[in-house]
Symmetry: C2
Subunit: 205 residues, 2 copies
């Protein structure tokens, strides 16, 4: 479990023909479908390969490990979240409000496919992922909170990353059946109000 993008990876260089792009697409699709019901364990490499109509060896050529496959699937989910946000940006007045908005939107998205979400999140935390989920989410939060107006302090980055960490942890708890959507919302709001509120101005308390 190591590599990130691979030899014939996604949008990146290396994909020669259209059939390779399509193969990759079929693989990702099969993987997501399998994980959607049954979670990680249902997403077995043999099964993915079979369902995608490629040989096991080929699957491993595209994704050197199961983890790489998971990371790729997550990447696609994040793409969707980002474009969703671009389409309809969070409207809240405060930075922490906007951050909560984005996180809860992501939460709802993940809740639609709990098995998939579970598989993906756990796998990601485990992974030696080079393209960090956390960093990407933190960057998104910084942008969305509008904290980076000009100066993107280290402190702000840390705070955004912290909120991301809290969110991930809450998601895990939800997937373990120990939080409801409402729990998460409340808890994220509490954490966000502390972490992201701009103290001089808006205090949410």
């Amino acid at each position: 479990m190591e590599a990130v993008q691979d030899l014939p990876p996604g949008t990146a260089p290396g994909l020669r023909t259209k059939s390779q792009l399509q193969r990759r697409r079929r693989i990702l699709q099969a993987a997501a479908a399998l994980a959607s019901r049954g979670g990680v364990e249902a997403m077995q490499m043999r099964t993915v390969a079979e369902r995608a109509g490629v040989a096991l060896g080929t699957l491993y050529r595209y994704f050197p490990s199961k983890m790489d496959l998971v990371v790729a699937v997550v990447g696609e989910e994040l793409d969707m979240l980002e474009s969703s946000i671009a389409r309809r940006p969070p409207a809240a007045a405060t930075p922490d409000g906007r951050a909560v908005d984005v996180l809860m939107r992501a939460t709802r998205g993940l809740m639609r496919e709990p098995e998939l979400a579970d598989a993906l999140i756990r796998a990601l935390i485990l992974a030696d992922v080079e393209l960090p989920f956390g960093d990407r989410m933190a960057g998104l939060l910084v942008r969305v909170a509008g904290l980076s107006d000009g100066r993107a302090t280290e402190e702000q980055a840390v705070l955004a990353a912290s909120l991301g960490a809290v969110w991930v942890q809450e998601l895990l708890e939800m997937l373990r059946g120990r939080r409801t959507y409402e729990d998460i919302q409340r808890r994220i709001e509490i954490a966000a109000s502390r972490l992201l509120a701009e103290f001089p101005a808006s205090r949410v308390e």
Copy 2:
């Protein structure tokens, strides 16, 4: 990967004879020793069983899965942390200072056995652990921060849990080689000052 405490578990009921207690102890010791160098992969069930001088089947009777074994090992580490804190309580003046103190003490402890720490933390995140590492650490933080003087608000519990989540995430980053001890300290301080500072009084800024 599910169960938590098992049939013949630790201090809990179920352990009939002394030899069983000793067996359990030998297993935990062997597991920790193996994980200390070589990490998760070195801690193979066959090897643990062999080194503990029990049959593979017996190991599985005591710990139904590798995860359960890991959880138990972590439990022991937490015991040690708690008694260390009881021995020498954090002295900082502010709640967030005390929390940082405890977290960094735990960090140093884990850093002494990076392979072990890596194995343990990852496994914990993965586990459907019923005896939540997070909750236990959060409780510890609440106590240590002295936030619960009389009233242990839900908000306080959430904030402590949040700080715990941030810490775990930072640890993971460290284990991936992306944070130094100093990084963690700085980042935890930033998060703690926001999450735990008592706003009316001490502002750390």
